[in-house]
């Protein structure tokens, strides 16, 4: 598909899909807790209502950061679905997350501050795995472009099982769900209040919510990439990953940040790096070291003669 068209499709459809997924999340969680739960479209009602509320802030410029968080998340997803370079997608995602964190810093309340610190720790926890995922995909497909990776004829997950597991782990953190709801909990917690989003209300909170919808669709799109050779399998895998995240959310209690950080790094090293090591060692014919470069006597590509007397 035309990259511009698919980016546009993402920008238009992602909030709908993301909102519905959020609705599913709430229904499913409710069922797991033996409650009926809200209607499927409740997240849309919530966001619309938030949008109509008064804009109350602790610091006057804090909402600008949130606006740019939303814009950059949309940009990230757009890049991804347009088939652009995966590393740039990750960098854009990081930039978006940094705007979110800086917004919480700007609000300068102790609770948003704790949330910001912990969000940073979470970022430090998942970032290596996310980058290694891109590296792993590159090693198999020899390209960082999402379009090329999606067009790879073989199932990526067969050569990247460890990376896939590690990525699922990072996904758990990225969704900010239990056991990694350290920075911004959906449930009442005394030491955290709402963490990073404590001081955001009304339209700003609505923007954060919508940004998360966009982000979730993009992340599930990445899960799909592991199975892109067989599209129905990809969709199924993305859906299952989503359900698994909700299940884990309801089963586990929150971790301390120390445990979360060390755990994430351990998983990254064992599954992610282990997989890449195996790829590098056992598939040498795919990426041989290129012949050693030959030194050229005169560094003059343009063919001009060195000036002499």
């Amino acid at each position: 598909m035309n990259p511009w068209l698919s980016a546009l499709l993402y920008i238009l459809a992602a909030p709908v899909v993301g909102g519905l997924l959020a609705g599913c999340d709430r229904r499913l969680s409710a069922r797991m807790q033996s409650r009926p739960g809200p209607p499927l479209v409740q997240p849309f009602y919530d966001v619309l209502k938030l949008g109509r509320k008064e804009n109350v802030v602790a610091r006057r410029s804090q909402n600008h950061y949130i606006l740019f968080f939303l814009l950059l998340v949309v940009f990230t997803g757009g890049l991804f679905f347009a088939g652009a370079d995966l590393l740039l997608v990750i960098f854009a995602l990081t930039l978006a997350a940094i705007f979110f964190i800086l917004g919480a810093y700007k609000a300068s309340s102790p609770y948003s501050f704790i949330g910001a610190e912990r969000e940073l720790i979470q970022m430090m926890a998942y970032e290596p795995m996310v980058l290694l995922t891109a590296v792993g995909m590159y090693l198999v497909t020899r390209s960082f472009a999402v379009a090329d990776i999606a067009g790879h004829p073989a199932l990526l997950v067969t050569s990247l099982p460890g990376v896939f597991l590690g990525f699922l782990y990072a996904l758990e953190i990225k969704f900010r769900k239990s056991p990694f709801d350290l920075s911004s909990s959906h449930h009442a917690h005394q030491e955290l209040v709402r963490g990073i989003t404590t001081e955001f209300s009304g339209p700003a909170l609505a923007m954060i919510e919508v940004a998360h919808w966009y982000e979730n669709v993009f992340l599930l799109g990445w899960v799909y990439l592991f199975f892109a050779a067989v599209p129905w399998l990809g969709l199924l895998a993305a859906l299952l990953a989503f359900v698994a995240v909700i299940l884990v959310d309801n089963v586990f209690a929150r971790l301390k940040w120390q445990t979360a950080l060390k755990g994430a790094w351990l998983v990254t090293l064992v599954f992610g790096f282990g997989n890449i090591l195996a790829l590098a060692l056992f598939a040498p014919e795919k990426h041989q070291a290129r012949p050693a470069p030959v030194a050229v006597a005169v560094a003059d590509p343009s063919g001009e003669k060195p000036a002499e007397h």
Binding site: A58, F75, L95, I98, Y105, K106, M124, T198, A299, E304
Partner: protein, 646 residues
């Protein structure tokens, strides 16, 4: 009739290039010597500004010079100049010997004697008849280094004029005022650096190498406090050991191959002869660029006044180290030596990035970050493929401007707030809005997409994955750590705590010119990055490695530009700051008392709100990291020499 005309044309072109190069080396050196005779502020200012304008003009001329490539011929006999440099080098050795003798420092004396002995033996014995046909050489890497040195280093010297006045007149009255010496050394440093990048004769290169060591020793010890003397001595010892390795490399190379020129060394086809000298030169580069196990000298160097730190970290000194490593890249690529060099860089990157998390002293964080980024460049040099070297040169460019800017900002803040604690910078956007914005620009330049360093990080990651994917694990962990310490510092700047009065005058004219100039340069380096790459870096890489394919796709450049435009919109959003919002007190878990900074807590007591960043001291320890890093890197270097032996 045509041929002589054409010949003269080339000749005059070469002559112009030669004049520019000689002027670039000599103007700062002469200005430095002149500084010793100016005791009054005005005279020094005039001389400094005149010299800096001349250097800037020469840099411009160099940048626009047609085909800045090839050897240049000297007016005087190279042999006579070699002799002069040899005598000057001996004078340095004698001076350092006296310093070592007076301080009863056996290690220092031993190092000086070893190098002097080696050089004397070489100059009298095998090297007595060494003739370099092309003692000076200009290619695009040299041009890039010279531009960085002239523009960033020049900006720092300009900044130093105002900074040192405030330093002696208000901030540090207890420090003896030796400004003539200070500025002499500063300009001498610039001249030495120009000499270093243009030298092709390895003996000349070694002389300028040792000159930067001497200047840094004297500048770090400028305040003459106990700590300054100790740290200056540490820097001297470590860099002299690098210098000793350098001298050994020159002697070995000449004895084995009869080669005394850098370009000729790169052209030696049988690598068995040049691997050991290349390893020795890489060792020298690693000491100078403060890689583990030698990082401690650069961390100690921050006792010096801020312009010195800025100069050491951004444009001179450490950049000389990575410059040499990148020059060696084609010789060590794909060898065990290259792998060890790459590993030293990779380990340094990770260790330094994590160590930076644990510190709250702004200058120390910057120092660790410099060490980390140099680690990435050394990693690129060790890998030594075309795209790795391309990424390494990009890193040099972007790091120089952004790091220079950050140091200058921290210097100004330190003078006004009398602290360089990052926690004390809370609310800097209120107190020093302009500096705070510039500081954020510098930080963005250091780690944020789509600014410079991120472009380079993309390039480094791609180069590493292409060459040896296993090394990528160092990069991914290290860059996660860099994110952490930069964002929390940035957050401190934007955070608004107690209402504070703005500082009356943030910077004086010279300081402001340097700050805004470097701020602009950080932007321009990103905007003009495709041009810098295609005009300078790609031709250099192609010259060394042969024609290369596209190093970064057109599509990615466009994405970066779009992202840049998006980020540049951010300041625009502040134009309608506070419209349509109602301000309320932050939630403090009790009744707010005064604004958002006090609340009524248990039993009606009024509590202050204190917000402080995480430094993860429970998980990470700087000492532990540094000591393990030193051990690992020492082993790696030992293995490197074992692998390099013929």
């Amino acid at each position: 009739m045509r041929r002589p005309l054409g010949g003269r044309c080339i000749e005059s072109k070469g002559q112009r290039l030669l004049n520019i190069i000689l002027a670039l080396i000599l103007v700062p050196l002469a200005a430095g010597a002149g500084m010793l005779f100016f005791r009054n502020v005005i005279g020094r200012r005039i001389l400094a500004i005149a010299a800096l304008l001349a250097v800037a003009g020469l840099c411009g001329a160099l940048a626009w010079a047609p085909a800045p490539n090839g050897a240049v011929t000297l007016p005087a006999s190279p042999h006579a100049i070699s002799l002069v440099l040899l005598l000057a080098g001996s004078a340095i050795s004698v001076y350092l010997f006296i310093v070592g003798w007076r301080r009863r420092d056996p290690l220092l004396v031993l190092l000086v004697l070893a190098q002097a002995g080696l050089t004397t033996w070489f100059e009298l014995g095998p090297g007595a008849h060494a003739v370099a046909a092309q003692p000076l050489y200009v290619d695009r890497l040299a041009v890039i280094m010279a531009l960085i040195n002239g523009l960033v280093g020049g900006g720092i010297c300009l900044y130093a004029l105002g900074y040192m006045r405030e330093y002696h007149e208000t901030a540090h009255r207890d420090v003896p005022d030796r400004r003539p010496l200070f500025f002499a050394l500063l300009f001498g440093f610039l001249g030495a650096m120009f000499g270093l990048v243009f030298a092709n004769h390895l003996g000349w290169l070694l002389f300028f190498w040792e000159l930067t060591t001497l200047c840094s020793f004297l500048l770090i010890g400028y305040t003459q406090s106990e700590e300054a003397r100790r740290n200056a001595r540490l820097a001297l010892v470590m860099n002299l050991s690098g210098g000793l390795a350098f001298a050994a490399a020159v002697a070995w190379l000449y004895r084995e191959t009869g080669v005394i020129e850098l370009q000729a060394m790169l052209a030696v086809t049988d690598r068995a002869f040049v691997l050991l000298p290349a390893a020795l030169l890489c060792f020298a580069g690693i000491t100078k660029s403060a890689q583990l196990p030698f990082s401690s000298w650069l961390l100690g160097a921050m006792v010096a006044p801020t312009p010195v730190s800025a100069l050491l970290h951004s444009s001179t000194m450490v950049k000389a180290g990575v410059y040499l490593v990148l020059r060696m890249a084609p010789l060590i690529a794909g060898t065990g030596v290259g792998l060890m060099v790459a590993l030293v860089g990779a380990v340094t990157f990770v260790v330094a990035s994590f160590a930076a998390i644990t510190r709250r002293d702004a200058k120390r964080v910057l120092a660790w970050s410099t060490v980390a980024n140099l680690g990435l460049i050394v990693l690129c040099g060790g890998i030594g493929t075309a795209e790795a070297v391309w990424a390494g040169v990009l890193l040099i460019v972007f790091h120089a401007v952004a790091k220079g800017l950050l140091f200058l900002c921290v210097g100004v803040v330190e003078h006004k707030l009398h602290s360089r604690d990052i926690e004390a910078m809370a609310g800097l956007v209120q107190r020093m809005p302009r500096v705070a914005v510039l500081m954020q620009v510098g930080m963005a330049g250091m780690f944020l997409a789509p600014f410079g360093m991120l472009i380079s990080k993309w390039a480094v990651l791609k180069a590493v994955v292409d060459a040896s994917p296993v090394l990528s694990v160092f990069i991914v962990f290290g860059s996660a750590a860099t994110l952490f310490f930069w964002v929390k510092w940035m957050g401190k700047l934007v955070e608004v705590v107690t209402p504070a009065e703005p500082v009356a005058r943030e910077a004086d004219l010279g300081e402001a010119v340097a700050l805004y100039g470097l701020g602009l340069a950080t932007f321009l380096a990103c905007l003009l990055f495709p041009l810098i790459s295609s005009r300078l870096i790609v031709p250099y890489v192609a010259g060394v490695f042969g024609p290369t394919g596209a190093l970064m796709g057109q599509g990615n450049v466009i994405i970066m530009v779009v992202m840049m435009a998006l980020v540049l919109l951010f300041p625009v959003a502040f134009l309608d700051r506070g419209r349509g919002v109602r301000t309320a007190g932050a939630y403090l878990g009790g009744a707010n008392v005064a604004g958002s900074m006090q609340f009524r807590g248990l039993a009606g007591t009024v509590q202050d709100v204190a917000i402080e960043n995480y430094y993860l001291r429970g998980v990470l320890s700087e000492d532990w990291l540094a000591s393990r890093g030193v051990m690992t890197a020492t082993v790696l270097l030992a293995v490197m020499f074992i692998l390099a032996r013929p």
